[in-house]
Subunit: 107 residues, 2 copies
């Protein structure tokens, strides 16, 4: 019998292997963001999905939700240390994407 794939790697891709997750993390690497900030940058993702991903990422300890009781209330999402530590991975994917994924310029 063959060895199994590393279960920690599996866990990592249980998260990153969901649509939008990588993109959300990428955007948050440039600092805390509000809900709208992220949906503006990833416009083909629905609010419903962003909301769901935020919850998953919070549960996974990758982001924290900050509520600033101003008027009107301001809510920001920030990467935890665990989340920030994904910067290396995201940078590698970015480098790979720049090398291999063609940019199709829009009209």
């Amino acid at each position: 019998m063959a060895e199994r794939l590393c279960p920690r790697f599996e866990d990592a891709f249980e998260l990153l292997g969901k649509r939008w997750t990588g993109m959300i993390i990428k955007v948050l690497l440039s600092g805390p963001k509000r809900f709208k900030d992220i949906s503006d940058v990833i416009p083909n993702m629905s609010d419903r999905m962003l909301s769901e991903r935020f919850k998953e990422l919070e549960t996974a300890g990758i982001i924290i939700r900050h509520v600033y009781p101003e008027t009107p209330v301001r809510i920001e999402y920030e990467l935890t240390d665990k989340g920030k530590d994904l910067e290396g991975s995201m940078n590698e994917v970015q480098k790979w994407a720049e090398k291999w994924c063609l940019d199709i310029p829009n009209s």
Copy 2:
């Protein structure tokens, strides 16, 4: 209006953001493998999914399918240069996973 997320990065995560894709690539980084070799190493993935992912990865130019007309026929899947170039990303994810994803030992 905010800038959009880099479309190449989006393309990259259109692939990596699908279940099993990252794991399949990880396994193939150690050399060409047969269908069964991969399903053994990732046992909770169904054959149906492996078959589908192989097709997507071939279309994306990340793997090549080799048919060796022996008897019985042997089929192997190998990473292309584009695929092998994901090693850096996968290694970063592996390092992150080892640091942050707890290993839950099974009984």
